[in-house]
Amino acid sequence: ATEPAVVYDQAGKFDKSFNEGVYNGVKKYIADTGIKVREFEPKNEAQVEQGLRRLAKRGYSPIVTVGFNMTSAVEKVAKDFPDVQFTIIDGVIDLPNVQSVVFKEHEGSFLIGALASMASKTNTVGFVGGMDIPLIRKFGCGYEQGVKYASPSATILQNMTGSTGAAFNDPTKGSELAKSQFSKGADVVFAAAGGTGIGVYQAAKDEGKLAIGVDSNQNHIQPGTMLTSMVKRVDEAAYKTYKDAAAGTWEPGLVVLGLAEGGVDWAQDEHNVNLITEEMKTKVSDIRAKIISGDIKVHDYMSDNTCNY
């Protein structure tokens, strides 16, 4: 039998977003199969590699690793333990025992953007990014395209929280940024900012505006003022790795998950039913279909590091 394991990044598994998504996948796997998954949360750079190595040495496999930060450590350890299967989420490593899972965040963000502009009464929407890195700009760029697609005249306010990892864990700043965007007229704000988003959603709740969650389905955090969430099915990715490995169908290589593959999507549940009109729903389904079919081409910021579409 496989002995599955997971290594979260330093934000920890309760970051309310990315890591927590993986954690949800892990939980589901445990619930479904009753197999224990070894979890590890490193606290500093050195512990990442140490933890991976320790897990590999003790025979854990597959090992799911979370986040681009871990790329170099996984690369090193994977080289030393060719028999152990590694899956890295959001990073790309070209080794025969590593599966790299990346997402087409821009496609999901496009959908969200369209929804946001449809929900906006002021024709002004906001975006609060976490750390200012290409990945987050990719969210922002897709979002922008979606907003413009649905309403070419819309105004988009964009702020990044910071330039270090702390930007993913600063709800105070998140709420300040959201408030400043609200005061400039925005009434829907999309936060692609990890834990910082909590502050954004709170601010939206406090001011009676709408917010959009990210990564996992965050609609439950502030029911009633969460328009939707841009879900990135990292939970699926983790779950699938364990399942495949158990079944012997796990394969190394690059896996790209977009709308078509169900890797990204918008979230709909009991917490936001009242916010999404039928009209919005149909329109968004239409856009979704067009993206999948290729009728709408969404520009990927990371393909050329610009947002010219």
């Binding site: 309760f14 949360e41 702020n159 330039s163 502050g199 502030q222």
Partner: protein, 322 residues
């Protein structure tokens, strides 16, 4: 432009609030001769205790009590080390900050199992914003409306309390018996002792006040400004408050102004990340972020005025011939 300014000032009020509480807390402690670099730890400890209390008992007020209790306990540890055992004030402060940084995460992990957070707070578990009477009606009156409805109205009770604490502090420090003794004990504890007053008692009382104020600062962070505790959420506010205390030369009103200045810089910095300013380009937010610290260093070095600390500050009181 005016609009933007109002919004900035509005944010400044929110961001300055914990600084004001903490800096006034430091004022009580340092005016009594106890150096307090443990403000940071007390804020963090209180933020955690307040959020935990609010989450468990469903009331922000109960949370606040817990926050104050935690903060005062930490202040008493500081007192036990510095007053009773004549320990080094700085070392004790560093110790408290370190212990709290670890303990809050450890305990919240144990109680809530959420990686060092507390559950998100909502409704009565938080201090909600208060709208002043007629705020909505006056909204559209030019200038006055913006100031009254947008700037002054619509904050939570702790924000108003923080601003109210400034005149209260002034009054306590300069107009009451307790204040007289407190100032004296920070300048010359021997004089206080020979006047028949217990130095230790005055200092302990000052630390209790300090603890209460830090408790308010922490509770504000986790149950008013935010909705829950996060590890390390004080994020250097205690040190910034210390800087403001020095920058305000240990006097209530200048300290308030320093806090507002630092808060304003923070509010500016938050909004500057990745923003192009026409004609200038991107101003590095880091440059704005460090300003409070740089200013304080310049002040300490005597380049802008002179900060003269209470005379007996940091020195343990021993009954020796002077």
């Amino acid at each position: 432009m005016f609009e933007t300014l109002i919004l900035m000032l509005d944010a400044t009020m929110r961001v300055s609030t914990p600084l004001i509480f903490a800096a006034l807390a430091g004022l009580f402690s340092e005016r009594a001769g106890i150096v307090d670099i443990g403000l940071e730890g007390k804020i963090l400890g209180s933020a955690f205790a307040a959020a935990a209390g609010a989450a468990i008992f469903g009331s922000a007020w109960i949370g606040l009590c817990f926050g104050i209790l935690a903060s005062v306990s930490l202040a008493m540890i500081h007192g036990f080390a510095c007053i009773t055992h004549r320990g080094d004030h700085i070392v004790s402060g560093v110790a408290i900050n370190t212990i709290v940084a670890g303990l809050t995460v450890t305990l919240s992990m144990h109680w809530f199992g959420m990686g060092g957070q507390t559950p998100a707070l909502s409704g009565n578990e938080r201090f909600l914003d208060i709208t002043f009477p007629f705020a909505d009606a006056l909204q559209d009156v030019p200038v006055i409306g913006a100031i009254y409805s947008n700037l002054l109205s619509g904050h939570n009770i702790l924000v108003y309390l923080a601003f109210a604490m400034v005149p209260v502090t002034y009054w306590v420090i300069y107009k009451t018996r307790f204040g007289l003794r407190l100032r004296a004990v920070g300048e010359n504890p021997h004089a206080v002792d020979t006047a028949g007053i217990s130095v230790a008692l005055i200092r302990y009382r000052a630390l209790i006040v300090c603890g209460i104020l830090c408790g308010l600062a922490g509770a504000y962070l986790s149950t008013a400004h935010n909705a829950g505790f996060l590890k390390d959420m004080s994020a250097g506010k205690g040190y910034m408050a210390l800087a403001a205390l020095i920058f305000g030369k240990w006097r209530p009103v200048p300290v308030l102004l320093a806090c507002l200045l630092f808060g304003f810089l923070d509010a500016v910095a938050v909004r500057m990340q990745g923003v192009e300013i026409p004609g200038i380009g991107q101003v590095p937010v880091q440059a704005i972020e460090v300003l409070p610290y740089v200013l304080t260093v310049l002040l300490l070095a005597g380049f802008i005025g002179k900060a003269i600390a209470p005379k007996a500050i940091g020195r343990p009181y021993v009954k020796e011939r002077a």
